[in-house]
């Protein structure tokens, strides 16, 4: 006889698989993995309804280490596999793990379409601005001039901004966080999980073997406060060690600018207030902070759910006609038939 055992609360242990983690010691991926294992039980996730789908690359090993369902697919195609899975069973909580090469180079087309369609999955793109697993070639997010085995004279490709790409593709939820930001990341995961539609999260991740310190100019403890702008819906865009810096919109140049409150007559009232439902604001704020002396925006940049996500819409269309009692036989007998 089955005893009725009260559901015990799940913990980090329940979401940790028995597989040995094989990233390089010190890789930023460890911190993201730990954070996920820790956060999921807090968000009330169940093991059986959680699925991690990944492509190929260092980050894409992630599913093996989660004691949930997982599908390590092929290079760049995780969005398509995840879409098929989510359409088949919209009840599942589907997470997609990808990287800058997997998600934006070989899988760029699929990324565009999964975002455009607004399939209800949570996409975590680990951006380390390099190909790790194939040993250090430049990626679509590498900065121009970067010397790698495949660019001995320096890369001549302009770099892609993943969030700008996501917004351009029609994403309705975009967020950014950092591998080491263990306090910040859970909130971003929670917001992504709660979003009904494709949630795109860029995680700035350090690859200490092939691109160490790629983000340190904004993640070093000493500069964090001046280089990161922590966004919160409804709160003014204020940052800086002293909390006296802010972002304003200059209507004359149509640019965002960094200002100091109290200087040049700037008051707190001049500072932009973050509105996560404002697409224009998201498009502008996602671009700043890279070589322009401004801070990089962190947190939920844009969160504007549609009425219904793609996977639900697909099933709604079927459900609208599926119970009409029509059978395959009826279909086959439609049109002209004759009896011999």
């Amino acid at each position: 006889m089955n005893e009725i055992i009260p559901e015990k609360k799940l913990t980090i242990k329940d979401f940790t698989s028995d597989q040995e983690v094989r990233w390089c010691p010190g890789c930023g991926d460890y911190a993201i993995l730990k954070c996920m294992q820790r956060t999921l039980p807090e968000l009330g996730a169940t093991k059986e309804n959680t699925v991690f789908v990944s492509g190929i690359g260092c980050s894409s090993r992630f599913p093996y280490y989660m004691d949930t369902y997982g599908f390590h697919t092929i290079h760049g195609r995780a969005p398509a596999v995840a879409t098929g899975l989510k359409i088949t069973n919209p009840e599942l909580d589907v997470w997609m793990i990808t990287g800058d090469g997997d998600g934006l180079s070989i899988g760029g087309n699929h990324m565009l379409h999964v975002l455009r369609r607004n399939v209800d999955i949570n996409i975590l793109l680990f951006n380390n601005k390099i190909y790790g697993l194939t040993k250090g070639q430049y990626s679509p997010t590498s900065e121009p001039g970067m010397k790698t085995p495949s660019t001995p004279m320096g890369s001549i490709d302009p770099a892609l901004n993943p969030i700008s790409f996501a917004l351009g593709s029609g994403a309705r939820f975009v967020a950014r966080t950092v591998d080491t930001a263990q306090k910040h990341m859970p909130g971003v995961f929670a917001a992504a999980k709660n979003f009904k539609g494709a949630a795109f999260v860029e995680i700035l991740q350090n690859c200490l073997v092939y691109n160490d310190d790629a983000w340190s100019d904004l993640t070093e403890k000493s500069v964090v406060k001046d280089r990161q702008l922590l966004l919160e819906h409804g709160a003014p865009m204020i940052y800086g060690k002293e909390g006296d810096k802010g972002i304003i919109f200059n209507p004359k140049t149509m640019h965002l600018e960094a200002v100091t409150i109290g200087e040049n007559g700037v008051t707190e009232a001049d500072i932009l207030v973050h509105d996560s439902g404002n697409l224009m604001m998201a498009r502008m704020i996602c671009e700043v902070g890279f070589g322009d002396g401004m801070p990089v925006a962190m947190g939920v940049l844009y969160d504007n759910p549609a009425d219904v996500s793609y996977d639900i819409a697909v099933n709604d269309q079927v459900a609208a006609v599926a119970n009409s009692g029509v059978t395959l036989k009826d279909i086959m007998h439609r049109g002209q038939t004759w009896t011999v």
């Binding site: 596999v81 088949t88 099933n315 002209q336 009896t339 011999v340």
Partner: protein
């Protein structure tokens, strides 16, 4: 009426400009012929360009139908009647027409301009060159305009009914009923009663013209009776319809919902269209951003517990290669339909070929075995699709289902099967872990199929992927001996299917016939007819048509070993021939054709006669 000639069968070819509605004319003639109980086979032959410049030879679209009071298995080697709606259609098609055949032309289109566009220097109707044929010159354009005059249509709109006028004449010529077509027109143009009425008037006018002309006996009339077929309820069916319905039935029998991931491609798109129209049956379709996404979405669906299906043609199948490898490695069921077309590369998108057999059997990286099946005719698509579904779920494997552009678009009468007569092959998902937990790669001792638990199942959480798995635990493994073991078990699983499929049968002839014609796919019709004729001439020749191309049926080797000569007609450069030689070390002789057209009966018959002659002389 005394002039009506009774024929056993006839071949009619309708040819005109892409905009002339020849496919529609042909398919309506087909309906009427099917309703009269004749057996039939059709062949839509259309250009790759959607709307090529009007009047050019590359814009010619044709529809051929072979129908008879006997079993019809091919579209007919040579038309008995050719309808040419413009000079370009005449130019492209006249060489097909049988000597002594009837040529119907619309002289209204034989203008200087159209003649020049078709590349004629002078009017072919005026010079020599057509004396081998019975030419019926009619100004169909003018007569159509007169017929539709009362409806006040523009000149251009009025001329659109030309095809219905022509159809009316052909219906008269072959003593077919106009009623189903008039009904169809009224239904199709229900919202445009004026257009419906104009078309019906044109149809009637063409028919009336036949009756009047008969008096002057310039036009002959034919009678083709019903074919002796099994009693039952019939309909006409195209390969694309039958394959789609078969996949739906396969899903039902497996107890799974079906999910098609597809990307538009000629000539496979009709399957995407048909399945997309079956939402009433719970069918989910997904038009993906590309071929790769299409197969990956189907595989994602399979991972989620649906029967994943993807459909494409050769170039698209090439793009799906890596994902098929993933399906093989993760051992998930998937049906991949290839509607083959002329290749390589873009090749001949609208022409038929069966040159993707190597691709199907060998076309993936690594040792990546996958069952391969082929359909032989439009109606056969139904059962073959069900068989593909059965193997996919029973053996947890992707299955390649080969069909081709000809089968997909061609139509034939089909005795509707009793849908309750099919044995089910219900899938039993693991409902929870065993005592020792859940191992996704634990195998059924007999089929070697792995355990299938789907996301949402408590206690069966597991990870799968394209990296090699440990034989015992299913965890990733780079161990050398383990890879050998896994490669072997994947191969053994697929080769074991040979014992679970129907024995190869001999269609005609016997195991002792000295000569066998061995085919696969859509060569079934012409081989079948050629062998029948040869046998009626006293030649002892057998016909073997293989549905299961990988693995082959268990008895095929012994069967082939018993024939002295084996001829393999294929619409490629000899692919099955090579596979047979490789697997059985038999002296299979190729007979190849890659013109984009199906084999003619004569082409195969000639070879049979030659081999039989050589044998007799020896």
């Amino acid at each position: 009426m005394s002039d009506t000639q009774i024929l056993e069968s006839a071949v009619v070819r309708f040819a005109g400009d892409s905009g002339d509605g020849m496919q529609l004319t042909g398919s309506q003639f087909t309906s009427s012929t099917a309703l009269a109980g004749s057996d039939l086979s059709t062949f839509p032959d259309f250009p790759a360009e959607i709307r090529a410049p009007v009047g050019t030879t590359f814009g010619v679209s044709a529809f051929q139908i072979n129908f008879g009071a006997r079993a019809i298995k091919t579209v007919g080697d040579q038309p008995d009647v050719l309808v040419a709606m413009n000079p370009a259609a005449l130019k492209v098609n006249i060489d097909f027409l049988r000597k002594g055949g009837t040529l119907v032309v619309d002289t209204g289109t034989f203008t200087k301009r159209n003649l020049a566009k078709a590349g004629y220097e002078s009017n072919p109707l005026e010079g020599d060159g057509l004396e081998d044929f019975q030419v019926i010159e009619l100004d169909i354009s003018r007569m159509t305009q007169e017929a539709v005059k009362p409806f006040g249509l523009s000149n251009k709109d009025g001329l659109r009914s030309k095809n219905m006028w022509t159809l009316g004449l052909m219906l008269w010529m072959f003593s077919r009923s106009r009623k189903p077509i008039a009904d169809w027109l009224e239904n199709k143009f229900a919202k445009l009663p004026n257009i419906a009425a104009a078309n019906v008037a044109a149809l009637n006018a063409g028919h009336a013209f036949g009756e009047t002309a008969e008096l002057s006996s310039s036009v002959k009339r034919y009678q083709i009776g019903a074919a002796p077929v099994e009693s039952g309820l019939y309909r006409t069916v195209t390969g694309a319809q039958a394959i789609s319905w078969g996949l739906v039935k396969g899903g039902e029998l497996a107890g799974l919902k079906i999910m098609l991931g597809s990307y538009p491609i000629t000539p496979a798109s009709p399957i995407l269209h048909t399945l997309s129209s079956l939402k009433e049956l719970g069918v989910i379709t997904f038009q993906a951003e590309d071929e790769i996404a299409a197969v990956c979405a189907a595989l994602g669906a399979a991972y989620g517990g649906a029967l994943g299906i993807t459909s494409s043609s050769g170039p698209g199948i090439a793009l799906k290669g890596e994902a098929m490898g993933l399906a093989i490695s993760t051992e998930l069921p998937l049906v991949i339909v290839n509607s083959q077309r002329g290749g390589p590369s873009t090749g001949l998108p609208t022409k038929t070929e069966q040159s993707d057999l190597y691709q199907a059997i060998y076309g993936r990286n690594g040792d990546a075995p996958m069952p391969v099946l082929a359909t032989r005719s439009p109606a056969d698509c139904f059962d073959t699709a069900i068989e593909a579904c059965r193997l996919a779920v029973k053996y947890m494997t992707p299955v390649m289902l080969l069909t081709d552009g000809f089968i997909g678009n061609a139509a034939e009468p089909w005795k509707l099967p009793d849908l309750d007569s099919y044995a089910d092959f219900k899938v039993n998902f693991k409902a929870g872990p065993d005592e020792e937990g859940f191992n996704p790669y634990a195998r059924d001792a007999k089929t070697l199929a792995r355990n299938w638990a789907i996301p949402g199942t408590k206690g069966c959480e597991h990870r799968i992927g394209g990296i090699e798995k440990d034989y015992d635990t299913g965890h990733i493994s780079y161990d050398a001996d383990n890879h050998q073991k896994m490669t072997d078990v994947r191969a053994d699983k697929i080769s074991g299917i040979a014992d679970d499929i129907a024995d190869q049968i001999i269609e005609q002839g016997t195991a002792n016939s000295p000569l066998a014609v061995v085919g696969w796919g859509s060569t079934f019709g012409p081989i079948s007819e050629a062998v029948k004729i040869a046998r009626s001439e006293g030649i002892d020749v057998a016909h073997v048509q293989i549905r299961h191309l990988f693995p082959f049926p268990a008895n095929l080797g012994a069967m082939l070993g018993g024939f002295k000569h084996i001829v393999v007609p294929e619409m490629n450069k000899g692919q099955l021939k090579t596979v047979l030689r490789d697997v059985y070390l038999v002296d299979a002789e190729p007979l190849n054709k890659v013109s984009g057209m199906p084999f003619k009966i004569e082409e195969i018959l000639d070879v049979i006669r030659a081999r039989a002659g050589a044998e007799a002389a020896a």
